[in-house]
Symmetry: D2
C-alpha cells in the first residue's frame, strides 16, 4: 500500500510526526480488508492494538510516497502478530511488530471468526 505524506502528517521538525507511522500501518491493515471487499469491523467485533515494538530508522518527509509492507508473524485464537515495514523506494524507514487482539462489541477478548482468520492467513502469507 502506497501512502503520500501530506502537511497534516508532518510537524515543525520538518518530518513525519512519530505516531503517524502507526497510523500509516493501521491504514495498511484496514486496506487489506477493504481491498477484499470486506471491512476491518467484523460481524461481532474488531481488532485493537495490544503490544507494539517499533524502530525508527529514517524519517519520511513532506511529499514522500512511502510503501507499507505487512507480513503475518503469528496467528492465535484471539490475536495475531504482524510485522509492518515502511519503505521509501528501497530504503527502510520504519519497522514495527504489532500484536492485535480481537475484541467483541461488549469489549471482551473473543475468538477471531474462522473465516477472518483464514482470510488473514491467506492474504498475508
Amino acid at each position: 500500500m502506497n501512502i503520500r505524506v501530506y502537511y497534516e502528517d508532518t510537524d515543525v521538525g520538518g518530518v513525519v510526526y512519530h505516531s503517524n507511522y502507526l497510523n500509516f500501518c493501521e491504514r495498511a491493515r484496514s486496506q487489506l480488508f477493504f481491498d477484499a471487499g470486506r471491512s476491518p469491523i467484523l460481524s461481532d467485533g474488531h481488532f485493537v492494538a495490544k503490544h507494539i515494538e517499533a524502530d525508527y530508522i529514517k524519517s519520511a518527509k513532506f511529499g514522500d510516497v512511502v510503501e507499507v509492507k505487512t507480513a503475518l508473524l503469528q496467528s492465535r485464537n484471539a490475536s495475531f502478530t504482524l510485522l509492518q515495514e515502511i519503505y521509501r523506494d528501497l530504503e527502510r524507514l520504519f519497522t514495527m511488530k504489532i500484536e492485535l487482539v480481537y475484541i467483541n462489541f461488549e469489549g471482551n477478548i473473543a475468538k477471531i471468526p474462522d473465516s477472518d482468520r483464514e482470510f488473514l492467513a491467506t492474504t498475508l502469507q
Copy 2:
C-alpha cells in the same frame, strides 16, 4: 480555556496546521460541558458542525499557549451558533463562527433538550 501547542499540532510549515484551530475550538466547546460536570454527549444525541466561517489572522507556533474564547451568537430549537476566537495574549489569531446542530442517536436533527439549552445560554452569556 488555555491550550498549549505541541509538536502534533504543527506541520512542516513551522506553525499550527490550519484545521487544528477547529480542533482547539472543539476542545473548548466540550470543556464547557466537562467543567460543569456534564458531557457534550447528551442523553439522546450530540452536536455536529453544520456551517463554519473562519478567518486566519496570525499563526500559532510550537510552544505557544493560546486561549479559546466562546460566545453564544444565536440559539434555536435544534441548533445554535457560536463565535469562537483564539488569542495569544492580547493578539487575536483566529476567529470562527460555527453553527452546530443537534443530532439524535438515530442520526436525525432533533430538538436540543431544554436543560441543555438553558445550560448553554447561561454558561455562554
Copy 3:
C-alpha cells in the same frame, strides 16, 4: 482525488471528525502539485489558509471512499480562492470555499510566482 476514510479520520460519534474534511481538501490541493511533479512548497514560499466557509451536508463514515473536487473561483496576485467539494459517489457531503494566501519564507505575504499562477489556472480551469 479519491480518499479512503480510515479509523484515524473518525471519532466516537461514528463519522469523520469535522476538521478532517479540511485535511482531505488540503491533501487534494497538495496532490494537484504532486501529480504534476511539483511541490506545494514553492521556490520562495507556500500557501496558507486565510478564510474558510464550509457547509457540512452529510457525514462520511469509516470505510467510505470520498472524492474531492477542486475548482478555481478567483485568482489574485498574492492569493486565490477555491471551491472544494467532497462527494461519496453522487452525494455531496461537504463544500468549502477557501482563500489561500501566498507567504514567503520570511512569513510575509508575497506575489505568487508567475509560473505557479499559470499552473494553477491551467490545472484548475
Copy 4:
C-alpha cells in the same frame, strides 16, 4: 501531566485511537521543558523517537482525564530512555518505553548539551 480526552482523540471504535497514546506521552515530554520555562527544541537540535515498546492495557474513553507519568530509565551521551505510563485514577491504561535520540539541525545524531542532560536527570529522577 493531566490530559483530557476530546472527540479528536477518539475513533469510531468509541475509545482513544491507538497512536494518540503516543501523542499524549509526547505532550508530557514537551511539557517537562515548558514547565521549566524551556523549550524541547534546544539550541542546536531536538529529540526524535528511536525505539518504542508499548503495551495497551485498558482503553481511555471520550471525556476521561488521564495522567501521564514519566521516569528516566537510562541516559546516554546522545540519547535517553524513558518509561511513560498513562493512568486513569489508579488504573494503568498504557505503558511505553521510549528511546529518544538527539538530532542536530543538520539531521545528525549529536551529543545532548550538558545543561539539558542535567535538567532531564534532575527533573525526571
